[in-house]
């Protein structure tokens, strides 16, 4: 079973596809769950503490806004842990403020820099696109270690 980072990290479709074909999806929910199940100081809503932007310094410089560094403290360890990645490039749901936009750019850059297998896609817009989308993901996941043939 391979660990597959999904982008957008909150994608329902990618999370389902990865799990459906026997791998483990690495998305935002995994990182958020770890935060909210760890005892510490109460810091709602996501239990992000002042230590998190400090952890984000590993991925982004100190001049970078703390929002980016905070987000990177969630996504950075997942990217390091990933054996492969699936990226959907035209995701409207990944749109957000400048913190989100810069984090998105940094996440994609770090994934590519790692040199792991990557599948680049766009969302389907018709039935034929849907077939090609699903077939491409299945073929990609089957080639990974522990994939369902």
């Amino acid at each position: 079973m391979a660990k597959v980072f999904i982008y957008p990290a909150t994608s329902l479709i990618l999370s389902d596809m990865v799990e459906r074909w026997g791998h483990s999806p690495l998305g935002a929910a995994v990182a958020v769950r770890e935060h909210i199940q760890t005892p510490g100081l109460d810091s709602p809503p996501l239990q992000m503490t002042p230590d998190d932007p400090k952890r984000g310094l590993k991925y982004a410089a100190v001049e970078v806004p703390s929002g980016v560094r905070g987000r990177m403290s969630l996504f950075g360890p997942l990217i390091e842990e990933a054996d492969a990645a699936i990226i959907v490039n035209d995701a409207d749901l990944a749109f957000g403020c400048m913190g989100c936009a810069r984090t998105n750019e940094l996440v994609k850059y770090l994934i590519r820099k790692r040199g792991i297998p990557i599948l680049d896609l766009v969302y389907p817009a018709c039935d034929e696109d849907g077939v090609a989308f699903v077939a491409a993901i299945k073929a990609f996941l089957s080639d990974l270690p522990g994939g369902v043939p």
């Binding site: 005892p39 896609l121 989308f133």
Partner: protein, 156 residues
Amino acid sequence: MTEYIPTHVGTVTKYVFIDSPDITPQNLSIRAYEISQGIMIKETCFGLQITGTPDEVGRVIGELRTLDPSHIFVKDRGFPPGDPRRCRANLGGARPGYYGHEFEVRLLRYISRGLDRLAACERDGIPVPETSPKKPPAATRLDVKRLKKIIDAEEP
């Protein structure tokens, strides 16, 4: 700051989305109650939220998927159901994350069609149609003429 004592430690929560013409969230929840042991199940308008130990949740979801494999979709959730930091009962308005689901749920019919076609090809021993997926467009720069037009269109 006060001390934070987490609840539901060691559990996982999964969303189960159903986009089927044959099965409703109610059917799904009844089936989940029939086969589950010691997990929390919450029926929602789009499907279910299931919270429990990873093994038990995985087993129940595996069973539920067999009801309609190409129309049931599963996703991890960070928070347990009803968590006051996320639940709309406390916050009002749509739950954060709802808009992402709303966007992707509109595309599920294409995914279901793809899953059906792949399953049919495997069943009949036919090779999967070789259609390459759409690739992301190459990054395009804003044309200078277009930029000038935008600047000229600005109100003084």
